[in-house]
């Protein structure tokens, strides 16, 4: 029973890893996932987040087994 977390780009480099795993708790939001994985890190400006590869907001609820991703503003094309 857990949430898989992925970090990309500058976040991945800053944290020194591409992801984490935290235990699922009923009622958990994306922000709760962040705080559980990174208790010492405030939410960066311009942070983007996705649940199961769909953009979402920090107050969105997560389900057990979800993949939650955190990354900076995109710079593609």
């Amino acid at each position: 029973m857990s949430i898989t977390i992925k970090y990309f780009a500058v976040l991945r480099e800053r944290f020194g890893r591409a992801g984490d795993s935290v235990p699922f708790e009923p009622g958990m939001t994306v922000l709760d996932v962040w705080k559980r994985a990174l208790p010492d890190q405030g939410l960066p400006e311009n942070l983007m987040m996705a649940v199961n590869m769909e953009y979402t907001r920090k107050d969105a609820k997560v389900q057990d087994g979800d993949e939650v991703a955190f990354f900076p503003a995109v710079t593609g094309g």
Binding site: F8, A9, V10, L43, N46, R57, A73, V74, G76, G77
Partner: protein
């Protein structure tokens, strides 16, 4: 419809021609609009010597697919092709090619522009440029899209 992330260099015009030859029915399309983004050796007036383009395997393709499907509902399209580079990119390499086939020019042009703009603001890619002083992530902004409110 083809959407692909490519780790190796590609010739964008050969890709368009090949896809068209293999996939498009002759006589149906009257208009093909395409855009190719290419790696420059400068940005904001500063020299750039190359870059690394990171993406989110799975989500990036899914996001581009959603953008193209949305374009298909807004305009009358026959087919489209999007190839985006990732990994180590050298000066003058193609970064992205978007091609849109339609019966009429307005649909092809407008859909191509829409896909490009949406792709640039939404598709999960992150550029790390090699500059004179070393490597640095290009800073973007979320333009209000899916932005954190904290």
């Amino acid at each position: 419809m083809k959407i692909e992330i490519r780790e190796q260099p590609f010739d964008p015009y050969r890709e368009i021609a090949r896809y068209q030859h293999e996939t498009l029915p002759a006589g149906q399309y009257g208009a093909t609009a395409s855009f190719v983004g290419t790696m420059r050796d400068y940005n904001d007036g500063q020299p750039v010597h190359g870059m690394t383009l990171e993406y989110y395997p799975g989500m990036t393709e899914k996001n581009i697919d959603q953008i193209c499907v949305q374009a298909s509902t807004r305009w009358s399209l026959i087919d489209y092709l999007v190839i985006h580079r990732a990994g180590q990119i050298s000066i003058n390499d193609a970064i992205v090619v978007i091609a849109v086939w339609a019966a009429h020019r307005g649909d092809a042009l407008d859909a191509c522009k829409f896909i490009l703009e949406d792709l640039k603001s939404k598709a999960p890619f992150w550029k790390k440029e090699i500059r004179d002083e070393g490597e640095a992530w290009v800073e973007g902004n979320t333009s209000g899209y899916a932005k954190s409110e904290e």
